[in-house]
């Protein structure tokens, strides 16, 4: 059984998923703009150094979605599962990620 990661749980609970956003704003695109860059990150992690091989990542994604993120739609849950896999493999720490999220949030929301 996978152990929840509080940071990711919070994003899963409080984050607004693309389906809700596009409905509110009347946008037709079925995928969030970050879907392609997420896929590229997955490819780049598989590529070269094989930090996170695709097959292992997808296996873990299935388990994590089943156990922790089943209530969250795709591709949001793919993203949570990717971050989760990276943390449990020590590629980054929860603290690393929490810190960087604050940095990114401040930058993207700068007026």
């Amino acid at each position: 059984m996978s152990k929840p990661i509080p940071l990711l749980d919070k994003i899963g609970e409080e984050g607004r998923v693309w389906n809700d956003l596009r409905e509110e704003y009347g946008v037709e695109n079925p995928d969030p703009p970050w879907r392609v860059t997420l896929e590229s990150t997955c490819e780049a992690l598989n590529e070269g150094a094989c930090v996170l091989p695709s097959l292992a990542r997808r296996d873990e994604e299935d388990d994590l979605v089943n156990e922790l993120y089943s209530h969250i739609p795709h591709p949001e849950r793919q993203l949570l599962a990717l971050a989760h896999s990276m943390i449990i493999r020590g590629i980054m720490t929860e603290e690393d990620l929490a810190h960087h999220i604050k940095v990114v949030e401040k930058r993207l929301n700068a007026a």
């Binding site: 994003i11 409080e14 984050g15 607004r16 998923v17 693309w18 956003l21 596009r22 509110e24 704003y25 009347g26 946008v27 969030p32 703009p33 970050w34 879907r35 392609v36 860059t37 997420l38 896929e39 590229s40 990150t41 490819e43 780049a44 992690l45 598989n46 590529e47 070269g48 150094a49 930090v51 695709s54 097959l55 997808r58 296996d59 299935d62 089943n66 795709h74 591709p75 949001e76 993203l79 949570l80 990717l82 971050a83 990276m86 590629i91 980054m92 690393d96 990620l97 960087h100 999220i101 940095v103 990114v104 949030e105 993207l108 929301n109």
Partner: protein
């Protein structure tokens, strides 16, 4: 183009999502941390993203349309799908950003040719292997355990859930993709398309037909307007 032409079109801005979600922030943060840790570079990532943006189901639709019109090309699709793909602009070996072919997968594409009494359908029971160079990103449902587990066990039932009811005398062959081998279905040419050009035929070969969960129809184009039929017994009435 004259200056006046520039002002002919409607300037009303399409609606945009005007807020940044926590998920968007998370995606950027994960990506930037990878770059910061030296796992990949921004340039590596850009190359993948640009490549992803070029992918879609159109080349596979074109391949099927060509094969419907040309028996020699159809045979090439069966014998050497990599070579046949080149004719529709897809290079399985050299066009990936990795520049050494592909990251172990994709290089063995196979075209499964339907017959009147044989229907193929593609799945990846293990994860979500998909012929992306020629079909683009896999649809969400293709990744679900529901589809992956049930298609191999009860294909007729699952296909009927997609609205594809096959007669009992049609054999269903389920092809299970893996890291090396990626399948594309070449459906049978539908009735009502005699005399059609390659362009016309390519327009009716939708993504779902190429996965095998739908059959092409003369009256259903890839870019058709999405119809919503009114409910017969609407809720609350």
């Amino acid at each position: 183009m004259s200056n006046s032409d520039n002002h002919d079109h409607d300037h009303t801005a399409a609606p945009m999502v005007e807020e940044i979600s926590d998920f968007e922030v998370l995606e950027v943060a994960v990506r930037e941390l990878c770059i910061e840790k030296g796992i990949f570079t921004q340039d590596d990532h850009n190359q993948w993203t640009e490549y992803m943006h070029t992918l879609g189901p159109l080349p596979a639709g074109r391949l099927v349309a060509k094969a419907w019109l040309d028996d020699d090309y159809k045979q090439l699709c069966i014998d050497d799908p990599v070579k046949a793909s080149l004719e529709v602009g897809v290079d399985w070996v050299n066009s990936m950003p990795s520049k050494f072919g592909t990251p172990s997968d994709y290089c063995n594409p196979r075209i499964l040719v339907d017959e009147p009494k044989v229907k193929h359908v593609v799945v990846c029971t293990l994860c979500s292997c998909y012929p992306r160079p020629i079909l683009g990103q896999s649809p969400e449902w293709y990744r679900t355990p529901n589809y992956r587990r049930r298609m191999v066990r009860w294909p007729r039932q699952v296909l009927s859930e997609f609205g594809l009811q096959l007669p009992e005398d049609v054999e269903i062959r389920v092809a299970d993709s893996n890291q090396k081998t990626r399948y594309v279905v070449m459906p049978t040419r539908p009735e009502g398309t005699d005399g059609w050009s390659e362009d016309q035929l390519a327009e009716i070969v939708t993504r779902d037909c190429l996965i095998g969960v739908a059959m092409p129809r003369a009256d259903r184009k890839v870019d058709d307007k999405r119809h919503v039929h009114k409910a017969i017994h609407p809720y609350g009435h």
